[in-house]
Amino acid sequence: MGNIWKEFVLNGCRALDLTDENGFLCGKILADLGVDLIKVERPGGDPSRRRGPFWADVPHPEKSLYWFAYNSNKRGITLNIEADDGQRILKELVKTADFIIESSPPGFMDSLGLGYSTLNSIKKGIILTSITPFGQVGPYKDYQTSDIVTMGMSGILYQTGDPNRPPVNISIPQACLHAGADAAVGTMIAYYHREMTGEGQQVDISMQQSAAWFLANAVPLWELSGVILKRAGAFRWSVNSTQRQVWQCQDGYVFFFMVGGRAGAKTFHELVSWMDGEGMANEYLRSIDWENLDMFKVSQDVVDQISRPIEKFFFSHTKKEIARGAAERSISICPLSSMADLLNDAQLESRNFWVEIEHPELNTRITYPREFVKSSEKVCATRFRAPLIGEHNEEIYGEIGLSKKDLAALKQAGII
């Protein structure tokens, strides 16, 4: 790829990404930081390409939007690593790599003779990052799962939903993203160690554990108070009251929650004066000492009295009016964004967040996030779309000395 890599922070590193959908985000983050990321798919394409939604609603392995979302900045090759020739070729590629990222069931890489010790003997200092639902060891390691199962096992699902209904899962898969992002950090820590010492190692990522890593105060609340945090639906639960968090407005929903004490006082003051300006505050709201409002002690009656005029106020406004008013006052109230809102969001526009990337095969450009970090030194931008099936076979296999003739033979044999 020549000079282009010089532009990026992790200039000169290469990763082989053997993951399925459970691991895409890891490689995406590394690729954005400048790693030469090679997505290794089975011949015919990764099964995750069958996952919808699809471009123009046409189910096709080259049109999976899930694939597009998390594989930009990666080049792609096909390789059957279960065949002897495929393993031989993979080992040649390993010699050129710094990282291997994979998401096969525990023990699978070993069973192919591609376990860590073999890889490390081929390329000293190699880093092997494995992303699995429950990690490489432990009583659940071979459990079958899906996002809803993993999210249930992580503690997030139990706390989400209405109190009088079953817990409800976030319908867009999340466990794979927590794991993928965590895997990028784990891989980078291992990389830093290797740069210091020359020593490589294995990084064991468990989707359950990455998702369970952040449960806010649920675990200490159980340990210290014996209280299990429950679902509170559109409300927020505290010891003596529940407080509304989701409010209706004219054309959608507004999110606002009552924060007590100094942290929330500014928002309350500004909100009440905003309401006052429109004749919608009342004497009760004006009389409250917001600095000393303790949300853990406040009674349901007080919460309800505060809520009623606020409810009316939000209901009389549109999402846009509320967003603008909150921004002008620098207070923490916001409408629920639709996908259309996000694509037209003023903040994202001022940050130059979206970028259009060419998809010549679809004869179009598609909007992606430009970069997750702005660096004063280097650019970490989305540069090119996700690879087609085997798009870079010639280019990458050429580097390790395979001729066009070899490639033709390998294709016939179902290796690439």
Binding site: G34, M153, D162, V168, I172, I189, Q209, Q245, Q347
Partner: protein
Amino acid sequence: MEARSGVFSGIKIAGFGWAIVGPLTMKYFADYGATVIRVETSKRPCTLRISAPYKDDKPGLDRSGYFNHFSANMLSLALNMEHPQALEVARRLVAESDVVMDNFTPGVMEGWGLGYEELKKVKPDIIMLRQSGFGPWGPYAQQPAFGMILAAMAGLPNFIGWPDGGPLPVGVSAYTDCISPRFAAAALIAALDYRNKTGKGQLLDLSQFETTLYFIMPAILEYISSGREPARVGNSHPHAAPYGVYPCKGDDRWCTIAVFSDEQWASLCQVMGRTEYIDDLRFSTLLSRKQNEDEINELISGWTINFAPEEVMDKMQSAGVPAGVVKNAADIYDDPQLRQHNLFWPLNHPDMGLFTHLGQGFELSKTPAQAHMPSPRLGEHTEYVCTEILGMTDKEFVELVGAGIFE
């Protein structure tokens, strides 16, 4: 104090952030050997220090379970930045640091004279990592960043709820607070490596709002492609049935079951002892199961309600059917898998007693995360940092104590 070993041994981070996003980012470094110094003040303490639950229900800056759960391995320097002499101490800290971390609302650091340009004058190769809610400029830049609000701003509640109800927040408050730190930590390690190789520091700017959008990207692409906004679908899945949360024996006990293939359906029927459903035309194929999903869900609920969720999980998993306990906080606390992977670190804390500190979400085979010490009391390491790291004489330190800057 003994020297730390570990991957980031010798790296010093001056942490001006508070609440969750900054500290959680620093945690990756503290747990792998970096010296992470949290600059705090009792004049305006970290919001977590004044958040419940407290040890024995008694509030106190060093007694919050929320703060202490997340802050293992970090040092605390009490420094009141509003004091006129504090800036000089902060500058000395910056001079000794590799990284300055900031997740305050934009403008706070600049107001103290600690903006990136100022930091560079003190330490030319400094790396400054900023993570505010919305980024340092733009119309929302000055809005406070609460995770629940950011999640709504990023559209997440569109994906949570039932077809007959409204959008719901993620149950874990501040859900987005764990998203940005991962992107930030990966970028920061890359920046450290880059500095080691080129001698150049840099400013890294992440927005919590922006990183959260990576967690819904397929839906944004779907809207671009088809104009379709997400619909609330409860627990149903477009390509699987049964798929959902089912009631179990006990108070508010639930299990999940996810069936993607006809083989898994057959296995599930066998586990339930209802083999007649395997070839029943209403249920035998994915399409027929999707068509009769409500009926299937009722059938399964009628069976699962007789068992504890652990029993359902064991029976289904033994038959190769994806299923699990919907774990509450008590279940997570005792989870054998998470325990084996060292998610939790029981550490003795002077105010909390033996208390569960959070470990790491993943494991490295040769350089494991270290449970080196419990979360710091506010200002616990002020003297150590000033004399051992900043090189103050005892006399100098005592004078500054007298001036009241370490509060």
